[in-house]
């Protein structure tokens, strides 16, 4: 099944919008639903970093074009939790149209 056209980036921001936040939303829009469904908030920070695969050895995320701030694990957790809520809300409708 093809991936729906997610638009978490277009959602009203759940916390003050920043450049890193915008790019992180876009990053999650590119994450396959099957992968996102395996996200477990109980993962330790190390497990989460391994699960995602795009963290750097310095502990921050390699999130291109986020020039003025770094994305750490805490920020990542806030955004992925919001993304899971977003997808749970829109998945049915988007799948029906896909």
């Amino acid at each position: 099944m093809s991936e729906p056209q997610w638009n978490f980036e277009g959602e009203p921001p759940f916390e003050p919008r920043t450049e890193a936040g915008i790019n992180l939303c876009a990053y999650f829009d590119g994450m396959p639903d099957a992968k996102l469904k395996t996200y477990d908030p109980a993962m330790s920070d190390d497990e989460l970093m391994r699960w995602d695969g795009n963290f750097k050895s310095d502990g921050d995320m390699l999130l291109p074009c986020t020039e003025s701030e770094e994305v750490d694990v805490a920020m990542y957790r806030r955004y992925i939790a919001a993304c899971v809520r977003y997808r749970d809300r829109v998945r049915g409708g988007l799948m029906a149209r896909a």
Binding site: N23, G30, N54, F55, S57, P64, C65, E67, S68
Partner: protein, 507 residues
């Protein structure tokens, strides 16, 4: 997990004079090492080891020498089969001063100005604790900032033939005043930390020039039209922007603006375009104050629908036409690169071998094709030439060939994006040796790259843009402190680290 390329190489036992895969400057996700890059790496290691043994050198010493570089370019030519790099078999066994290679034996033949030089906090290198450094009496403070800056100085000036650097900005806004109205200074202006704020770039430039006793560094200023924002009116905070503009021009004495249209330091929820009203207002205010040089990041953007497209160079056309007294240096020659394009990266970047075009470089080329009268746009080649040279030398021939054919050799500007790529010497060596094949010249109307072209691209074009008197600068170099330190460093066995600080996947 992403690790630094140098770290990956150490784990794999690799010591290569050229990077054997593309590294990320945190502006893109680098493609995995290709099969051809693996072959190049394998040949470099095999031939390097063999050659070092043959002439009785350590592998480390050999790989840091001109002979190691020559071996690496021979390996690239062997794998890609295009002879993109002019290099003789004999160079593997004849030690030379790196600066004299491909320069008719003439040291300092090319006056190299690197307009895209960065340093980044947190880069750990061995130089500070090396015996060479200790013997030279360097007083290295034990803090991250000086650590990185010292590394920058070493890799840019001692390990390469770069004569001058332009310390190039990373977007970020400065806080201006304390709650009591006092004007903040230096680190107070970036209380949450920042990679390369304007105040730090200016301070580093001044420190370098004072240490050298000549002009070795210039710097850019980060201020852009969306850095100070009135959230009530949702418009530019003009008073704050002008206050910062005055500070950057009069206190920091910046040498160029550096803009990133697709970033949002003031958290406005958007970026800007070179041809929008806010940018034009900024340009007019800058014109009044005499600063007419704009360095603009274009390309290397992806993902965000809100911000990503703002790095497309489509907006250069109107801005350049409307402001003919300004010069626009377009960083990365607008190479889009793409992020998640994997093995199909050429198709994803709409690379057309019939025309040599690819995203978003084509947009930049088309602007000049449509407007031959435009004379104030300059493609810059940092993380463009070096990326393409190790990714696909034929694309590099097209990229450089098109830049020169379309904009002219007098409009292409040298930059490297180092320290991400380690010391820039490998890129300098690569461009000194780089040539476009007869086949592509014939088919696409490219001209062979001459030493005159190289001289312009390496530094003379940037010198004009920045008002550098090359003759005076050349005359000052031999006696300046940095040259003397370099001489001592080399005399005492200082070696270039083949250590690349950008990110690669830990496979």
């Amino acid at each position: 997990m992403w690790i630094r390329k140098g770290e990956r190489d150490r784990m794999m036992g690799v010591d290569s004079p050229i990077p054997t895969q593309v590294v990320s400057n945190e502006e893109f996700i680098p493609r995995p090492q290709t099969e051809k890059q693996k072959q190049v790496e394998s040949l470099i290691m095999e031939w390097g080891e063999r050659n070092a043994n043959r002439i009785g050198m350590s592998r480390r010493g050999y790989m840091a020498s001109s002979m190691g570089l020559a071996t690496a370019f021979l390996a690239s030519n062997c794998v890609y089969g295009q002879d993109a790099f002019e290099v003789g078999e004999d160079e593997q066994f004849e030690p030379r001063e790196t600066e004299t290679v491909k320069a008719n034996g003439q040291k300092g033949k090319f006056f190299v100005i690197d307009v895209q030089a960065h340093y980044s906090n947190g880069i750990a290198l061995s130089f500070r604790n090396s015996e060479t450094a200790r013997n030279m009496g360097f007083n290295l403070k034990d803090d991250v900032e000086s650590y990185s800056f010292r590394t920058f100085t070493k890799e840019m000036f001692l390990d390469s033939e770069t004569a001058m650097v332009v310390i190039s900005g990373v977007p970020g806004k400065e806080e201006q005043r304390a709650p009591d109205g006092r004007v903040l200074v230096d680190a107070e202006r970036t209380p949450r930390g920042a990679i390369l704020p304007s105040w730090l770039m200016a301070k580093s430039r001044n420190e370098l020039n004072a240490m050298a006793g000549s002009q070795r560094a210039l710097c850019q200023g980060n201020l852009a039209p969306n850095h100070y924002w009135n959230t009530t009116t949702n418009s530019v905070d003009k008073a704050a922007t002008l206050e910062q503009m005055e500070r950057e021009l009069n206190v920091y004495k910046i040498n160029s603006w550096k803009w990133y249209c697709h970033t949002d330091p003031a958290r406005t929820g958007n970026g800007f375009q070179l041809d929008d009203d806010n940018a034009q207002w900024f340009i007019e205010e800058s014109r009044k104050r005499g600063m007419k040089l704009m360095s603009v990041h274009k390309g290397y953007s992806y993902q965000s629908r809100t911000l990503g497209h703002l790095a497309n160079p489509k907006d250069v056309e109107k801005a350049a036409l409307r402001n003919p007294d300004f010069n626009f240096v377009i960083y990365h020659s607008a190479l889009k690169h793409g992020a998640t394009d994997g093995p199909d990266w050429k198709a994803m970047n709409e690379y057309n071998p019939e025309t040599g075009d690819f995203l978003w470089h084509k947009v930049l080329m088309d602007i000049k094709r449509r407007n031959p009268q435009i004379n104030n746009v300059y493609p810059e080649v940092g993380s463009f030439f070096n990326t393409l040279a190790i990714q696909d030398p034929v694309m590099a021939m097209h990229g450089m060939g098109l830049n020169i054919k379309t904009y002219g050799a007098d409009h292409v500007v040298w930059g490297t994006d180092c320290l991400w790529w380690g010391s820039p010497q490998w890129g300098i060596d690569a461009f000194k040796r780089f040539q476009i094949s007869d086949e592509l010249c014939e088919k696409h109307g490219y001209k062979k790259i001459t030493d005159d072209d190289r001289a312009k691209i390496f530094g003379l074009n940037a010198a004009k843009l920045y008002g550098v008197d090359v003759k005076a600068a050349r005359n000052a170099l031999p006696a300046d402190a940095l040259s003397r330190v370099k001489e001592a460093y080399l005399d005492r066995g200082g070696l270039r680290d083949n250590d690349y600080h950008g990110w690669v996947q830990n496979a």
